[in-house]
């Protein structure tokens, strides 16, 4: 069995388990921490992500939902419509007054060092800042746009 590329990261966030779970599940929360300032819209099990100008970038479908602990979704980017979907797993563990969040992105068809990993690092940093300070955080949004 050949192993497909994957990306894993862990972070620790000072917040309640409920707040972290809601931030991951609530489509409206996404715009507060995504690095590209994207928005998300939920319809049933499906979430659609779009750039501030409305361009759709990504679809994600819930595959496994264990409230407050584990969330598995598909990852179907519009920029690679012919690729098989990859898979994201979020796991939450409570540790004292903070939470440990593990993000696993599996079944990738690309090497995560080509930008996928960077996107995660930026968005999870934004998620942490937003939950801990209450202020929206887009690590790289405007800055990256200027560079393009």
């Amino acid at each position: 069995m050949t192993e497909k590329p994957k990306f894993m990261m862990q972070t620790y966030i000072r917040c309640t388990q409920d707040a972290l779970w809601d931030a991951l599940r609530d489509a409206d929360a996404f715009q507060h921490y995504d690095f590209l300032e994207q928005r998300a819209k939920r319809e049933g099990d499906n979430v659609t992500y779009m750039m501030p100008d409305g361009t759709v970038t990504l679809h994600a479908r819930d595959l496994e939902v264990v409230p407050k602990t584990r969330l598995v979704t598909s990852f179907e980017p519009t920029w690679a419509p012919d690729d098989p979907p990859s898979r994201i797993t979020y796991e939450i563990a409570v540790e004292g007054d903070f939470c440990c969040l593990t993000v696993l992105h599996e079944d990738l068809t690309n090497d995560p060092s080509d930008g996928t990993g960077d996107g995660w690092v930026r968005s999870i940093a934004g998620l942490k800042t937003w939950l801990e300070t209450g202020k929206p955080a887009h690590f790289g949004g405007a800055y990256l746009m200027e560079q393009m």
Binding site: Y12, F98, R122, A125
Partner: protein, 247 residues
């Protein structure tokens, strides 16, 4: 000179020399008592040291006393040690180290990045001032020694033991710090490695990159330590409170 190296290439003979350095002119019985060796064993080692001219003897009545002879050692120092301490030699050795390190830059054993909403000055202070490090380090409340070239920074656990020692080897203000990484928490024999902090200011954000080089087998756990350190640093700089591990 071969005889000197051969004579020094044995822990018991080095112990005899140390004993004589502490108290010169000891008899065979004195040495026998201090080294917990048989009389025959001590005599055997003394013969090797004597033939290398590292000790001299003097007979007084029934007793023979042993004295250090420092001259051959000094000659050895002059020939084999001092020249390598010359500035030119040292500069070359540093150049070699730096070039080798640059080559390794291509592929650290561990790398992570974190984005922090803070000023470059605040991040630089947090990475270089010992009192700041103590405030956000996940396992240590006390850190001794500010970051400066050639200086050691020690991370002290609540029980008083140092868990980590880092000596700064390179420092580019507000952009790069290279340090050794001596993981004392793994015991005195744990192999040292080295690491680099890279800072990149991006608008109102700083990107901090942590690279760890030459990690030994079985040191994968360092990754979790770095993750805890980095996120605690981020929380500290953004909210004023760190994320200390439950202790």
């Amino acid at each position: 000179m071969d005889q000197i190296f051969k004579a020094l290439n044995d822990p018991t003979r080095r112990a005899i020399l140390d004993t004589l350095r502490q108290q010169d002119g000891q008899s065979l019985s004195d040495l026998e008592a201090k080294l917990t060796l048989t009389r025959f064993g001590v005599m055997k080692h003394l013969r090797v040291l004597e033939s290398a001219d590292l000790i001299g003897t003097r007979k007084v009545g029934r007793f023979k006393y042993h004295y250090l002879n420092a001259l051959p050692m000094q000659a050895l120092m002059d020939r084999w040690v001092a020249p390598f301490l010359q500035p030119q030699a040292r500069a070359l050795s540093e150049l070699k180290t730096n070039l080798e390190r640059e080559t390794r830059m291509g592929k650290p054993d561990f790398m992570m990045q974190i984005f922090i909403r803070c000023t470059l000055d605040a991040l630089w202070r947090a990475l270089t001032q010992a009192d700041e490090m103590g405030r956000y380090h996940f396992a240590c409340n006390v850190v001794r020694g500010n970051v400066a070239i050639g200086a050691a920074t020690a991370f002290i656990q609540p029980n008083g033991d140092a868990m980590l020692r880092q000596v700064t080897t390179e420092l580019d203000p507000k952009s790069r710090i290279a340090m050794t990484f001596e993981p004392l928490f793994m015991g005195p024999a744990a192999p040292p490695s080295h690491m680099v902090y890279l800072i990149d200011e991006q608008g109102e954000t700083c990107k901090l990159t942590i690279q760890h080089y030459d990690m030994a087998l079985g040191q994968d756990g360092f990754a979790e330590g770095w993750a805890r350190l980095a996120v605690s640093l981020k929380t500290y700089l953004e909210t004023g409170n760190a994320l200390k591990a439950a202790m």
